[in-house]
């Protein structure tokens, strides 16, 4: 069970179809199969032990991924938005890697090992490809248990980790969640999630296995995104919540006018309910899908599908309506268990730590598995399941604020703050406090015309909606909150910045 098998099937099943395009550059499935083999020969010729990709979405991305699979070496997509120092640190672990990147400094000190995205693809695609990379005997392609991809997690609340996904994890995800060749000729997916994120990777392999044409749009912009859907006849799109928020703001109450769009999937971070409700109204003909998963689980493990969205939206029962804020139900090939701090399954629908098990779950970092003896992976997320199995995520366990012995989920308070008409963005963190253990601090950014809103107004707002023990002890106003490319709050940075601001303003209070 490996990625090579998946590509072989696609080439056999629908080789003439376009697999992927970005602007003028594109590849058919047959071409992708060919450049994967030639790329693998290049890897072998230069003796590379990994393929590193540092760049935006482009046909060179799947070409490099499948070349590494065909050569049996790991594929390592890195965040091209990182600074040179950070990238060099990450790359130092792979001194023999083939590097595909448009970074101007790449290539210095690595003669023969670096290629730009276009030159990598163009050389393999044209007739020179076969002559420059002649067939010098059989390759040793990646097998079931080999590491297929190394992904660096964003580390929003802790240290970033290098998560290993083996061929069997990724192949099992695709084989059990996607029906082979289920896409019709006219289907096309618009992809705007980053190459170095598990969503970008999972999206790619799922769409290839479905036989869908992938259209990459780099440098997300709401207007270009909508225009591309119309000009390319896009049927499927995947966005992160911050992108959908920008689209909704751009539409400013108008219909999105994208009749070809059948499915609009979102994930990567928490979706604010007001944004979702507004988006559902602007895209009346699209089916919405919320996908929840982690890097360590080869992406999606739970889905809130179009029918779930409709049922929740039209229900007048608060319990059913609340499911709009859930991540839906766990997919059939994965098991879930919610456990208390002592490790026992929680009673009823009480919140606890979420554990997952299944073939797509890797739970492995640089050779160290964190699966327990029975194969369960501790996600580090807290949440609960309702009586029909809908999973609600409260956030990272590390982010839970413990105020006077009471567990407070930042997400719950953030949702209330975001529902205030003047609030554009909100983060809630715990500041250490001698008396309470932790104090609740909120950081908000305000919409342009909401200047009159004060700290007291927002504290009153939270008190009215929740209760006093969940009311922020202080509210700070920032022009903008730091988030990752997929929209996750950089809580560690917010906490550090807030603590140092407070220390400067009030040096006597520690």
């Amino acid at each position: 069970m490996d990625l090579n098998l998946l590509l072989d099937m696609a080439v056999t099943g629908y080789g003439d179809r376009t697999a992927v395009s970005e602007g003028e550059d594109s590849l058919t499935y047959a071409e992708l199969g060919r450049v994967a083999t030639l790329g693998a020969r290049l890897v072998r010729r230069i003796g590379a032990d990994a393929v590193i990709f540092v760049g935006p979405s482009h046909p060179a991305y799947p070409a490099a991924l499948f070349a590494s699979a065909a050569a049996g070496v790991p594929f390592i997509p890195l965040n091209y938005r990182l600074g040179r120092d950070q990238l060099e640190d990450l790359m130092a672990g792979y001194p023999k890697a083939l590097v595909v990147s448009d970074e101007p400094w790449i290539g210095e000190g690595m003669p023969g090992r670096a290629r730009s995205l276009r030159s990598y693809l163009a050389t393999l695609l044209d007739d020179r490809g076969s002559s420059e990379e002649p067939d010098a005997g059989p390759l040793s392609p990646g097998q079931t248990d080999d590491v297929a991809v190394v992904l660096h997690t964003s580390g929003t609340s802790g240290t970033p980790k290098a998560a290993l996904l083996r061929h069997r994890n990724l192949a099992s995800y695709v084989f059990t969640t996607v029906e082979f060749a289920n896409a019709t000729d006219e289907e096309a997916a618009l992809v705007t999630v980053p190459t170095y994120h598990v969503a970008g990777l999972a999206n790619l392999v799922s769409n290839l296995y479905a036989g869908r044409r992938i259209v990459y749009l780099e440098a997300f912009d709401p207007q270009r995104w909508l225009e591309t859907i119309r000009s390319e006849g896009i049927t499927q799109a995947m966005v992160v919540p911050t992108m959908l928020a920008r689209v909704v703001r751009f539409l400013d109450g108008a219909d999105a006018r994208v009749p070809t769009l059948r499915t609009l999937a979102y994930g990567g971070s928490r979706m604010p309910i007001p944004v979702l409700e507004e988006a559902l109204a602007r895209f009346p003909d699209a089916g919405f899908v919320n996908a929840y998963g982690l890097t360590e689980t080869s992406s999606t493990i739970a889905l809130l599908g179009p029918d779930d969205h409709r049922a929740a939206l039209t229900s007048n029962q608060p319990r059913a309506r609340a499911r709009l804020g859930s991540v839906g139900r766990v997919i059939p090939s994965v098991e879930v268990e919610v456990r208390d701090d002592g490790g026992a399954p929680t009673a009823g629908q009480l919140p606890g730590l979420i554990f997952l098990r299944g073939d797509q779950v890797s739970g492995e970092y640089a050779g160290v598995s964190v699966l327990d003896a029975d194969g369960w992976f501790p996600t580090g997320d807290r949440g609960w399941q309702d009586d029909e199995g809908y999973l609600f995520i409260e956030g990272r366990a590390d982010d839970t604020i413990i105020r006077g012995g009471e567990n407070v989920s930042p997400a719950e308070i953030e949702d209330v703050l975001l529902a205030h008409p003047a609030v554009a963005d909100a983060a809630v963190v715990g500041l250490s406090d001698d008396e309470w253990g932790q104090r609740i601090a909120a950081v908000v950014s305000i919409d342009g015309d909401g200047g009159a809103v004060t700290s007291d107004v927002l504290r009153e707002w939270v008190r009215d909606h929740l209760r006093s023990s969940k009311t922020p002890d202080l509210v700070a106003f920032w022009p903008e909150l730091p988030r990752t490319a997929t929209g996750k709050l950089l809580r560690r940075q917010i906490l550090e910045d807030l603590s140092s601001t407070l220390a400067t303003e009030n040096p006597t209070a520690s």
């Binding site: 099937m9 099992s172 084989f175 999937a265 599908g305």
Partner: protein
């Protein structure tokens, strides 16, 4: 013993499969009565007598619920796969909504 990820082939036709879900017990897998072999084994592809079935279709998943077995067809062929003599059925599960 079967294991998820194991790739098998029919010695007499083009059919190839990969094990997606493996049963805990030992089972006998056949393609029109020929025992399946490892995908890298020597094969003759002499063909089968007409099976009267659609054969094995590329990308379809085949199951035997009583043995908790699931196979994915990675190369099409004219044979008919069976587990301990029971012909496998095509898995007809409701597809998940596209999340990617």
């Amino acid at each position: 013993m079967l294991k998820a990820g194991l790739r098998l082939a029919c010695p007499r036709c083009t059919t190839e499969v990969v094990v997606v879900r493996a049963p805990a017990d030992e089972v006998m897998l056949t393609c029109s009565e020929s025992a399946l072999v490892g995908v890298d084994s020597a094969r003759e592809e002499t063909g089968h007598p007409t099976t009267g079935t659609d054969g094995m279709l590329l990308g379809k998943r085949y199951v035997d619920e009583s043995a908790d077995l699931e196979l994915l067809c990675t190369k099409a062929g004219p044979g008919a796969l069976a587990c301990d003599g029971r012909v496998l059925g095509i898995r007809g599960a409701k597809p998940l909504p596209s999340s990617d």
